[in-house]
């Protein structure tokens, strides 16, 4: 049993399982660094997963599927942005409402469009890629072969984001509006604009994360298939101290847990208990992050421009 658990396959599947989380988590980083708490990520992922399936199913092209998921994710994020930035509504309330909308809406649409309860028909995802040369190395090569292009894209985006947030003027401003929007405003930085951008980026990334679930992981859309991954991604973001690479690290931890979980199935532990593992891990991780990670100072606080 041990060798099956600690095999290269486990690592490969850990990376696969970490990918949707990493997309969403990174989305969370952009949104919260700009000062908007986005628990709607769960719903964004769910819409992403659903519309990726719809796009792929009708156009027979996973790229269209991903495009659909991006559009859907962006629309949900846009609603969250308008409600929480423009109307300054409590961001948790807005996020919760959007998660309800996603749970009900995708199920509703799925039953209408696919004319079946429970799930969509099978869909074809992307053709996997082998990284030349490295993938031929025995053992470790396994990690670099049979890769979804979305995994590679995720890694590129994570490192790019780290650079954008900490080395560019855009990143400086985005972080500034999340730390002290008033200070940024007095320097002529448009707080609302950067917050909108932050939330919309989270919609795009959350949407792709959802697309990965239906296109690359399950190859089918299943009702409520995100199963709390949006929240797990947020926990990873917190554990990663609201930083792209840190969050990726935390997502890999969760990915590993999920990979092990799948290995554990069929060894006699009831499935329900195996299912609980990521949720319990999330709670442990959050408790462990207390006092070690600091959110942006203005995270979750609507900015009221002093203009009466």
């Amino acid at each position: 049993m041990l060798e099956t658990i600690f095999a290269w396959e486990t690592l490969t599947s850990a990376i696969r399982m970490a990918t949707p989380l990493a997309y969403a988590s990174l989305g969370g980083v952009f949104s919260e660094r700009s000062g908007v708490v986005n628990i709607a990520l769960e719903g964004i992922m769910l819409f992403g997963a659903f519309f990726a399936a719809v796009g792929t199913y009708f156009f027979k092209n996973p790229l269209i599927g991903v495009l659909f998921s991006i559009i859907a994710g962006t629309i949900i994020a846009f609603i969250h942005a308008v409600v929480s930035i423009k109307f300054k509504v409590n961001q948790i309330v807005s996020g919760t409402a959007l998660n309800m909308l996603a749970a009900g809406g995708t199920t509703f649409l799925s039953r209408l469009i696919f004319k079946a309860a429970g799930s969509s028909p099978h869909i074809e995802g992307f053709t996997p890629i082998d990284i030349p040369i490295i993938s031929k190395i025995p053992g470790i090569g396994l990690i670099f072969s049979d890769l979804s292009p979305l995994i590679i894209l995720m890694l590129v985006i994570v490192f790019m984001s780290q650079y954008i947030l900490y080395k560019t003027a855009f990143g400086l401003r985005l972080r500034a509006v999340g730390e002290n929007p008033q200070a940024a405003d007095t320097l002529g930085v448009n707080v609302y604009k950067y917050r909108y951008i932050g939330v919309l980026i989270s919609g795009i990334l959350g949407g792709i994360g959802g697309a990965f679930l239906s296109l690359e992981h399950a190859r089918v859309f299943v009702e409520n298939m995100t199963g709390g991954r949006g929240f797990i991604a947020l926990a990873a973001m917190i554990f990663g101290n609201w930083k792209p690479i840190g969050s990726l690290g935390a997502c890999l931890l969760f990915g590993l847990a999920e990979a092990l979980r799948m290995r554990l199935e069929g060894v006699g532990i009831p499935t329900q208990f195996i299912q609980m593992i990521p949720y319990i891990l999330t709670m442990l991780v959050l408790a462990g992050a207390v006092g070690k990670s600091t959110p942006p100072s203005a995270d979750g606080v609507p900015y009221e421009k002093e203009e009466i």
Binding site: K167, T168, A169, F170, L172, R173, R175, A176, E179, N180, Q182, A183, A184, D185, T186, L187, G188, V189, S297, E306, E307, I308
Partner: protein
């Protein structure tokens, strides 16, 4: 003289008040122009209008003779106007240079180009003759240094007109001198400086001209050389003011309160109060002076029970109360918290509900597990009447009351159980002169009745006027102790900035 800004008929309404009422004012290029007035006179509002943060309801702004429309700080910046706000607009986890370039970044492709910005900044810093580490995080800077960062922000944006809103409120006297020397250099470089203050000594020291505001109106603009403190004070208040509180001499009474060698660890894990000891006797006001952030807040929080003691003892009438919880300690003293909105009141609770905050579990307000609201209303009405609180009803949210009336509720509540000891932290912050006088008189009355008062204030005038004994806190320690008669503002300043330190604190424990 060449005019640089001209305001004509600026009027600005806020709900319930006219913040600026038909204000016209001309500022000349290169002058240091002070604007004085009480809290709420409309100084800050007027400045925020010039800086594009507020839109005036009426009136026009001319810059260099041209009519302009300043809708946002961005436009103000483009006209060469910069502002240092009363509460610093800095981002603590960012470095000095990041704070400065934000919004006007120099880029190298898509990356930030710090080298280029550094060159520009070094030129400015050298011309003003001070030092600062551009790559230090702002959270590690002293208040004076942070203020310099704010000024650098403006100069980096090539500001020609610098507005400083109460810049000295948070500084020790020596830091004020340093600031003034920077301002004089700037003025000699041809920059125009608008300086808002209510400290008349400073205004007379630094400015070329002074404008006085009262209740939203511009009362008068005078040449500094041709005026004096009393004339300005009278213009500010519209009546004669007594700058001193009358206080009869009193004999030394019994000891009411004592702390012995207390140490407090701050929220960041460092010791912020280091071995403080003092006592207070019946019939005296003990003042604690110090630049903000030197441990006074934590000292009070520890005394009240909000922060745990790392070491030391707290005694009330010789009884050790170190291990008692907030609720038990409340019976020994009243407490006016330094930030009444944060700690003293619940703004969305009614006036009546606020009148029992912290006393709500007293038997006199309850029937078993229930609160007896008829008694609460009676109690609230008593406070409103006794302290002349202006409110249409005791059932409206206290948010709707003015700062002075809110503070009266806090005072009334804290004195309603007749404690022998009152802790007053920044008790007049943000109040107008009328309310300030009211509070000062009340503190002195308490003292004259034989009660003990611990007064913590960043306002040296307040400390010097009211206290019988004065302690100075610097970097978590008591560094100086004086009886009222033996010290002046300047001397206190040396202790507040750590220049001087007494080896023997003879006035701390008497």
């Amino acid at each position: 003289m060449e005019e640089i800004i001209r305001l004509e008929g600026i009027t600005k309404y806020f709900p319930g008040v006219v913040a600026n009422d038909n204000v016209s004012l001309t500022i000349y290029k290169g002058e240091i122009h002070a604007i004085v007035g009480e809290n709420g006179a409309g100084k800050s509002t007027l400045m925020k209008i010039i800086y594009g943060l507020y839109k005036p309801d009426k009136g026009e702004i001319y810059i260099n003779g041209k009519k302009v429309n300043i809708n946002s700080p961005k436009i103000a910046i483009s006209y060469g106007i910069g502002m240092v706000h009363q509460h610093f607009m800095l981002i603590p986890p960012f470095t000095v240079i990041e704070n400065i370039i934000l919004g006007s970044e120099v880029k190298n492709g898509i990356s930030l180009n710090f080298k280029k910005a550094e060159e520009t900044l070094n030129d400015i810093i050298n011309s003003l003759g001070f030092k600062i580490d551009l790559y230090e995080k702002v959270e590690n800077l002293s208040v004076g240094e942070a203020q310099r960062v704010e000024i650098l922000k403006l100069l980096y944006r090539r500001a020609e007109i610098l507005i400083l809103d109460e810049p000295t409120a948070v500084l020790a006297p020596q830091e004020v001198e340093e600031l003034f020397s920077i301002l004089r250099k700037l003025s000699s470089q041809g920059k125009t400086i608008i300086f808002i203050s209510h400290k008349l000594n400073e205004v007379l020291n630094i400015s070329d001209r002074v404008s006085v505001m009262r209740r939203g109106k511009l009362v008068n603009t005078v040449n500094t050389k041709e005026t004096n403190k009393f004339e300005l004070a009278q213009m500010m208040v519209g009546r004669e003011v007594f700058l001193k509180v009358d206080k009869a001499k009193r004999e030394k009474g019994e000891e009411i309160f004592r702390v012995e060698d207390i140490w407090v660890r701050g929220r960041k894990g460092l010791d912020v109060v280091k071995g403080v000891s003092f006592n207070i006797r019946e019939g005296e006001i003990l003042g604690i002076a110090g630049v903000e952030g030197n441990g006074q807040s934590e000292l009070i929080e520890a005394i009240v029970g909000l922060l745990p003691l790392k070491k030391g003892k707290i005694l009330f009438k010789n009884k050790d109360i170190t291990l008692e919880r907030i609720r038990q300690r409340r019976l020994y003293f009243g407490h006016i918290p330094e930030d009444r909105h944060k700690r003293g009141l619940i703004l969305d609770f009614s006036v009546a509900e606020n009148c029992i905050l912290g006393l709500h579990y007293f038997d006199r307000f309850s029937k078993g597990i229930f609160i007896d609201y008829s008694k609460v209303y009676k109690h609230a009405n008593e406070i409103v009447e006794k302290y002349q609180v202006k409110t249409p009803s005791i059932k409206i949210p206290i948010r709707n009351l003015s700062g002075g009336n809110q503070q009266k509720i806090v005072l009334g509540r804290e004195l309603s159980f007749s404690p022998d000891f009152l802790i007053a932290a920044q008790p007049t912050r943000g109040l107008d002169i009328g309310a300030t006088e009211f509070v000062h008189q009340l503190l002195v009355d308490l003292r004259n009745q034989g009660k003990a008062v611990l007064l913590v204030s960043a306002d040296l005038d307040e400390i010097l006027n009211l206290s019988d004994r004065i302690l100075v806190m610097y970097n978590g320690e008591i560094v100086g102790s004086f009886s009222q008669s033996e010290v002046d503002e300047k001397e206190l300043g040396y202790y507040m900035t750590g220049v001087k330190k007494q080896t023997e604190l003879k006035e701390a424990l008497i």
